[in-house]
């Protein structure tokens, strides 16, 4: 399986995962005397911070995803292979892939996290989460078809159930989804329907804890809540969802009818974390050594959402893109020092460049150390930061164009339904229509 690369005398570094962490590590190894194999089960890197825009029909998938091979085409030290890592044999230094085995001299595990349902996996079919492009397509399809079904429905109660949307979880993803749904219902769709009125839609954001966006200062989370309510979102704090089915949710003991429920509440680390033999935290994240290596295995590093790292101030390093990038780069630097002269580098320290969360049209919150912003100014900072970090000049241009368009017209250009709806009669949506 190694092909003609086996004759290469350079140490072989295997990177599992082509997200922010894996890519940063691959890039940082460019000046090292190593050959790198990057494994991902997808052919593309995904700009996850904008995934909610695909789910809400504002951006097309190719605008936020780029082929890993294309990103790394000039990094001649890197071979990209599309495959899935199932397990790691730490003693033999071999990764077990779905299509074979791959020996390594050093390993960087960056397989990330996915959404989790706190032991209620049966909720997944009623309340899809948002981690992949397929997830985004599922959410887009459900949201758009809910309005179509409302237009077909004559019974007022059943129609309202199609116009009720529940978003579970008040973190960044939940806030973004709820704010955008409100914009769609209030501004994008009303003129297009003749029977059901999209403005009758209820967007309910349910959070079990006492505040939205817990990573932000209390006054900013309060501002976020007020901005959301101004956009038309109903926010329910301190409210646990105790059941979900096709008819709606249970809010504590009260049933709430809603045909569309979106899940933005829980995160679980990639199952590969538990295969590495080291202690993991409650979410399955690996408790790594200060240099991000796997305890007892200095040639193995764990970075990104899969790693559990505590900062000097006692807080956990958050599961965000900048943290994953910093960790990927740090692991590569540590590995280079080790290969060069066996030396160790200083422990990983997370540099907090600030927190940003968008809420909706001209509404956001931002926090940079002591500087706090909200509303229009925060929204502009968010917009510029996200366009600047998008990989690829073309993507930046297209996303800017799409957003300018959406801003001026209230239109969302990716409002197409493909695939089949799992909830309703699939006969109405055949594959070969």
């Amino acid at each position: 399986m190694e092909g003609n690369a086996t004759s290469d005398p350079r140490p072989h570094v295997v990177i599992l995962g082509g997200g922010f962490g894996g890519l940063a590590a691959a890039r940082e190894l460019a000046d090292a005397n190593v050959r790198v194999t990057l494994i991902d089960r997808r052919n593309h890197h995904l700009f996850q911070p904008l995934l909610y825009q695909v789910a809400t029909a504002g951006l097309s998938a190719p605008s936020i995803a780029a082929p890993l091979r294309q990103i790394l085409q000039n990094d001649k030290h890197v071979t990209v292979l599309m495959d899935e890592a199932l397990d790691v044999d730490l003693d033999r230094r071999i990764v077990m892939l779905a299509q074979g085995e791959l020996p390594y001299d050093a390993l960087i595990v960056a397989t990330g996290a996915t959404h989790a349902y706190f032991g209620h996996d049966e909720w997944e079919r009623y309340a899809p989460g948002l981690k992949t492009l397929e997830d985004a397509f599922t959410i887009r399809r459900r949201v758009l078809l809910a309005f179509e079904r409302a237009e077909r429905e004559d019974d007022p109660e059943k129609r309202q159930a199609w116009l009720n949307f529940v978003v579970v979880g008040g973190g960044a993803t939940g806030v973004e989804l709820a704010g955008t749904l409100a914009e769609i219902a209030r501004h994008t769709l009303p003129r297009e329907f003749r029977r059901a009125d999209p403005r009758m839609a209820n967007i309910l954001l349910v959070e079990a804890g006492p505040k939205l966006l817990p990573a932000f200062a209390p006054d900013l989370t309060e501002k976020a809540r007020r901005q959301l309510e101004k956009l038309g979102v109903q926010v329910r704090l301190n409210t646990a969802v105790t059941a979900i089915d096709e008819h709606g949710v249970m809010l504590a003991d009260t049933p709430y009818p809603a045909r569309t429920v979106l899940w933005a509440a829980g995160v679980a680390a990639s199952p590969l974390g538990r295969r590495l033999g080291a202690p993991v935290d409650r979410a399955g994240r690996v408790l790594v050594a200060p240099d991000l290596s796997l305890p007892g295995h200095p040639q193995v590093y764990v970075v990104g959402d899969l790693a559990s790292v505590t900062q000097a101030n006692g807080n956990a390093v958050p599961g965000v893109a900048p943290a994953a990038k910093q960790m990927g780069r740090h692991a590569a630097l540590a590995l280079k020092a080790r290969l060069r002269d066996g030396s160790a580098i200083k422990p990983f320290a997370y540099r907090d460049d600030g927190s940003l969360a968008t809420i909706g049209r001209m509404a956001a919150v931002a926090q940079f150390g002591r500087l706090k912003l909200s509303g229009l100014l925060a929204w502009w900072v968010w917009l510029i930061a996200h366009i600047a970090f998008l990989i690829g000049f073309r993507n930046r241009l297209v996303v800017m164009l799409d957003w300018a368009w959406a801003y001026w017209t209230y239109q969302r250009h990716a409002r197409i339904v493909t695939g089949t709806d799992e909830r309703t009669n699939t006969q109405t949506l055949p594959r070969d229509a």
Copy 2:
């Protein structure tokens, strides 16, 4: 199901299908005293002439598809419903939908055509056709994954089978697909692979008849063949494909190994055509009256790819977008005259505005009456015409940007794989990757 519209005294016109024919009819009825219900099983109108660009990763799906409701939002006489027409009861004047019954006073059937396998439906899973966005995603996935599989494969013979591509059918779609595949293999991908060389790809275009693009003059079809071969496509004329399976195709009696086969050979009319009781041609198209009405049913019209119409010169009206638009408009005009004073209008006459077919980068053929163009000039005409006809200003802008980008960089921006590959081990491509 009719909702509060039943109290509306205006005649109710039902249009089945939101393609070029159905949309043109709906628009033309704007100044008539009727109410219109447009039914489509999709939520979007598809700009089918550019579908091959989505299949070959050059355009994103939202660039060539727009929600029917959005297109018709200012046409207040039109209600759009997402549903599938299963049958028509001509005596009771009712359309049977998957979700109920819909009575009509006049009916315009514009449900189009799909690809057909000449009695070999078992070939479909090995050789997908191209009519819907899902078809385009399937082709895109198969083409991109074939190169990924080649990169994973050490056995030279097996690797070559992943690098062999067969396109069946030498009409416009086949020519476009083959020309673009050659560009991808020769220009887009080579720098990104480390083991398999995409330039080793063979693109075989197989046509059972004696020439490509049969709608064009003989010297232009010959020029098209030469341009294709210059781009790197191997053209086989007078060659019948007698079998297709996962390993490749049979060309007459010779097996040709190819893991990727694309179908661009046959067209069959929507099955609804045969439910209308009128004679149909071999492809299932309805033989309509000169005014496009269904013989014996003056309040029912059939337009677009579903209608079989013979021109004054004895040729059939071709199954192209301009013909469908002209027919949709003609049926609406005929219906308006009939509703106004019971009069008939003159028979439908197809106005041939010329034929255009693109072959690849700076290569195309065009024919306008006696004027024949090929090469770069024809390509520019094709480019401008297709951008001009694209629905929506934003789509035009984005498509122009995408093409300018692709032209200068040889990159194709929509090179992302989503969904699961039916041919290979789906374990390597799980839904929640």
